[in-house]
């Protein structure tokens, strides 16, 4: 970069190299406290949640557009009365619309059809069978449209699910419902899910664990992620995917003060430790002074009494947060198969610890305390759920299931006592089938 180095440049460069000027004293006062950085994981979590929300919105938007499309098709539906009756069958949104010319139907033909539109939709294509209704063979096999011209009896009209169908002789079907609720080829599904849950802590299995857990409370937790499914049979589906599970607890009998580094020179990576049911918190933030009841807090401070210093209290509890990247494997069985179905689900999930943080403070003024030692870097959990599945359309369904989750591997091993939390939550997911 220096093509030419006149000496005047060197004079100034060297002369100013180590220059220091004391800034006005009030500059520091006008610099706001640095916000606590959101960890990369939290950022990733936010992005994942955003993506999940976008996927959900896209699915809903897709469903809405398809619904409108179907509405347009219905509006265009006209069945002229007369000698030749044209029956237009609007298939499911994913299928092509096919027009089948039908011969005249005797006026006295008994025509039955569901009066209720919803009933008609629910009846769906499942009642359409090629061998019994050649008229509608074209519904699933366009190559066989010619069969539609075959004579048919008035009974065959019953397979057409319509909103109103009062008689063949004067038939004009102004409203004709979709004839399918489930595409036969839809074996895969993808969706976004969210399971808020409330953590529950089992009773301590040792005296010390029980003592610690007296002042610990499980925090609300959640699991979110993207789910992929494969329909093994009409009723059985296998699900997997990737998700993020967050759980933690609050330790309420620890007071935290800031400003210790003004008075005490740090000689180690941490000064305080806090014993919890999930492991030992090492307070890596050496600016903090921790004190608590029940011999929970250990200290490495020597030759000083921080309680006599003029410190600022920044918290009266410590929150532990553990986040796991989860790979679930679930089976979902349709106990009741219908538009509003009932599912029984069960499976396991492998979790890999990706975030382990302990912090204190309130609102947005959070202070990182440190991390918890002794936490298992992975876990296995099992879950069991029973809930409803609502088919919004042929392709989209919504699940809502109360789920009980139990961690088979302990969060940590403290004093030989295995600590295995469990949680009760609501699994909600939106799935797109294809």
């Amino acid at each position: 970069m220096f093509n030419r180095e006149p000496n005047i440049d060197i004079v100034f460069r060297n002369g100013l190299k180590d220059l220091e000027v004391l800034p006005p004293s009030d500059v520091w006062d006008n610099i706001p406290p640095m916000p606590v950085r959101r960890s990369l994981l939290r950022t990733v979590t936010s992005i994942a949640a955003g993506i999940a929300a976008l996927v959900s919105l896209a699915l809903v938007a897709g469903w809405y557009l398809r619904s409108n499309e179907t509405g347009t098709q219905l509006a265009e539906l006209t069945i002229p009365s007369g000698d030749q009756q044209a029956v237009t069958v609007i298939s499911s949104p994913t299928d092509d619309v096919e027009v089948i010319a039908a011969p005249p139907v005797p006026a006295d033909a008994a025509v039955t059809a569901p009066r209720d539109l919803n009933e008609g939709i629910a009846a769906g294509l499942s009642v359409v069978r090629d061998d019994q209704q050649p008229l509608l063979a074209g519904l699933t096999d366009s190559g066989r449209e010619s069969e539609a011209s075959l004579p048919f009896s008035s009974d065959e009209i019953t397979v057409i699910t319509a909103g109103r169908l009062t008689g063949a002789g004067k038939t004009a079907m102004p409203e004709l419902a979709s004839v399918s609720t489930r595409g036969q080829g839809q074996r895969f599904m993808v969706g976004a899910s969210l399971s808020p849950s409330m953590g529950l802590s089992p009773q301590g299995q040792s005296v010390r664990l029980a003592e610690l857990m007296n002042s610990e409370k499980a925090r609300p937790s959640y699991t979110t992620g993207l789910t992929f499914g494969y329909r093994i049979s009409d009723r059985l589906t296998i699900h997997s995917g990737i998700g993020l599970a967050s759980l933690g607890q609050t330790i309420s009998d620890v007071d935290v003060f800031a400003g210790l580094s003004d008075f005490y020179a740090v000689k180690s990576n941490y000064l305080y430790s806090v014993e919890t049911a999930s492991g030992m918190i090492r307070a890596g933030n050496t600016d903090l002074y921790l004190t608590g009841a029940g011999n929970r807090v250990g200290s490495l401070v020597q030759g000083a009494d921080p309680s006599k210093y003029n410190l600022t209290q920044v918290g009266s509890e410590i929150r532990q947060v553990f986040r796991y990247l989860e790979l679930p494997l679930l089976l979902r069985y349709k106990v009741i198969d219908g538009r509003m179905g009932l599912n029984l689900s069960g499976g396991v999930a492998y979790g890999l610890l990706v975030d382990n943080t302990a912090y204190t403070g309130q609102g947005s003024d959070m202070v990182r305390v440190g991390h918890t030692e002794g936490v298992n870097p992975y876990n296995f959990s099992s879950q069991l759920g029973l809930g409803m599945e609502y088919s919004i359309s042929t392709n989209i369904s919504f699940n809502l299931e109360p789920v009980l989750r139990y961690y088979m591997t302990p969060l940590s091993d403290i004093s030989g006592a295995l600590y295995k939390p469990y949680s009760l939550g609501i699994y909600s997911g939106l799935f797109f089938k294809f």
Partner: protein, 186 residues
């Protein structure tokens, strides 16, 4: 003395004490840089304050490779440039002035007794456009092409401004030291 990395980690964990420690340790050097670019103390203090807010905001991006002080200095310089651009962009004069090239360069050895504060004052007294170009070229080591892109001026204008700045500074140096110009080989 607390290690630089410990202070950074402390800042990232939200310790106000470490944030202040970082400020106290580096603010004097960075304030000198601010004065070099700003030209007056009011502007310099604003740049320092704004620069430190940016330093804290971007601290998590510092990857501990390279000089931390250099990283902070770049933020301060960029902050100065932003303020300069916002203030002088519309009113700048890009015309290449007829600047007489210095006939000779003073021998630097004769200026050994110059105080850093004297040099700083000389730079601060330069017109803003000359000061910016001189700082970026002579102190930071940017090329005229880079300076042109940074300030939104042509390479020719950058060269012209540099020559003018050198001319003015040389006169000031000579005036201050009383050193008679000597012909030197550059």
């Amino acid at each position: 003395m607390q290690k630089e990395k410990d202070i950074i980690d402390g800042c990232l964990s939200g310790s106000r004490r470490d944030q202040e420690l970082l400020y106290r340790r580096y603010a004097p050097k960075l304030y000198a840089v601010c004065l070099q670019y700003a030209g007056n103390t009011e502007e310099a203090r604003d740049v320092l304050q704004e620069g430190f807010i940016k330093i804290y905001d971007n601290l998590s991006r510092y990857n501990h490779e390279g000089s931390f002080e250099g990283w902070m200095r770049r933020i301060i310089v960029n902050t100065s440039l932003e303020r300069y651009r916002s203030r002088y962009y519309l009113s700048r004069v890009d015309d290449i002035e007829d600047v007489p090239e210095p006939e000779a360069e003073p021998d630097t050895s004769d200026f050994a007794g110059l105080e850093a504060y004297d040099l700083l004052n000389m730079i601060m007294e330069l017109p803003p456009k000359y000061r910016m170009v001189f700082n970026l070229y002579a102190i930071e080591g940017y090329s005229h092409k880079e300076i042109g892109e940074m300030l939104g001026i042509s390479e020719g204008t950058s060269k012209s401004n540099l020559s003018r700045a050198r001319y003015i500074l040389q006169k000031k140096v000579v005036l201050l030291t009383g050193v008679t110009r000597k012909m030197v080989n550059v």
